[in-house]
């Protein structure tokens, strides 16, 4: 099709959708819409992971981000009853300054990429590094200690969230 392979078409479509939904996250006025657009962005990124032969990571990404983290966001937004009317807006001047700063940052990143040229590394034969078997072997051999530290971090975060969120003794 037009000289592109099916993988390249998929890459283009997924990239376009990811960037569009990412822009909608920033521009939509209703916070609930922002959350839903961010979920769509995460699905597009999961599609990219599938294209990159990271199958297990794609599933985990959908389960953790779209399934857990964004539902948490949605719950908090609904608890606070946020909608378009309560949405605080910055002045146009600070929005323009933010856009110009972002544009300059993008210019620097793309400029440094232009000097790099195409990295001529070829993909080797084994396309199975994304499977659970290989990932588990690496995770529990090379990264066992960071894994344990991550479990302690999650425990600490859980205890911290409960301690912060709970009402004080004298509070009404």
């Amino acid at each position: 099709m037009l000289g592109y392979t099916i993988t390249q078409w998929l890459f283009g479509i997924l990239s376009f959708l990811a960037i569009m939904f990412g822009l909608m996250v920033v521009f939509s006025r209703n916070p609930v819409n922002s959350v839903l657009y961010l979920v769509m962005t995460f699905f597009c990124i999961a599609g990219h992971y599938l294209l990159l032969n990271a199958q297990f990571l794609a599933i985990v990404h959908i389960v953790v981000y779209a399934g857990a983290i964004m539902v948490l966001f949605l719950f908090v937004i609904m608890l606070m009853n946020l909608n378009e009317d309560t949405e605080p807006q910055r002045t146009w001047l600070s929005k323009i300054i933010a856009a110009v700063a972002g544009g300059l940052m993008l210019f620097v990143m793309v400029g440094s990429l232009k000097g790099a040229g195409d990295m001529g590394l070829q993909q080797y034969g084994n396309a199975q590094i994304g499977f659970v078997k290989n990932l588990g072997a690496v995770l529990f051999k090379d990264f066992l200690f960071p894994f344990e530290i991550a479990s302690v971090l999650l425990l600490a975060a859980m205890v911290g969230a409960i301690m912060i969120g709970k009402k004080e003794a004298g509070e009404s």
Binding site: T5, T7, Q8, F11, S15, A18, I19, G22, L23, V25, V26, P31, S34, L38, T41, F42, I45, L51, L52, N53, A54, L57, V60, H61, Y65, A68, I69, L72, F73, V76, M80, L82, P88, R90, K95, I97, A98, A101, G102, G103, L106, M109, V110, L113, A116, M119, Q122, Q123, L135, L139, D142, F143, A150, L154, A156, A157, G160, A161, I162, I164
Partner: protein, 103 residues
């Protein structure tokens, strides 16, 4: 080239997603939207790690992404607890109103 797509396009896509997140952090005042934009920036970095992991055929990059996901989950849990606490105290989550430490 990986899957017939140059790594440069993946770098470009990650950079664009990261910038969108950064602009969102700078341009919005709602704390929850700012948190969501931080998630978007983390995901841009994750995509970069996975693409280089596939390019070099090394699973370590993907394991790093797991750790980033764990840290992001912890960050969101604590951050949203703090936000709901702020909302309980001042009935608002506008970042411009959180200036108690200024004076």
């Amino acid at each position: 080239m990986l899957n017939g797509i140059s790594i440069n396009y993946y770098i470009l896509l990650s950079a664009v997603l990261f910038i969108i997140g950064a602009v969102g952090v700078m341009a919005r005042r709602n704390s929850i939207i700012i948190f969501m934009c931080i998630e978007l920036m983390l995901n841009a970095v994750n995509l970069m790690l996975v693409s280089f992991s596939t390019l070099h055929n090394d699973a370590k990059g993907q394991v790093f992404v797991f750790f980033i996901m764990a840290v992001a989950a912890a960050e969101v849990a604590v951050g949203l607890a703090i936000l709901s606490m702020i909302y309980r105290n001042i009935k608002n989550i506008d970042t411009d109103l959180l200036s108690n430490l200024k004076n």
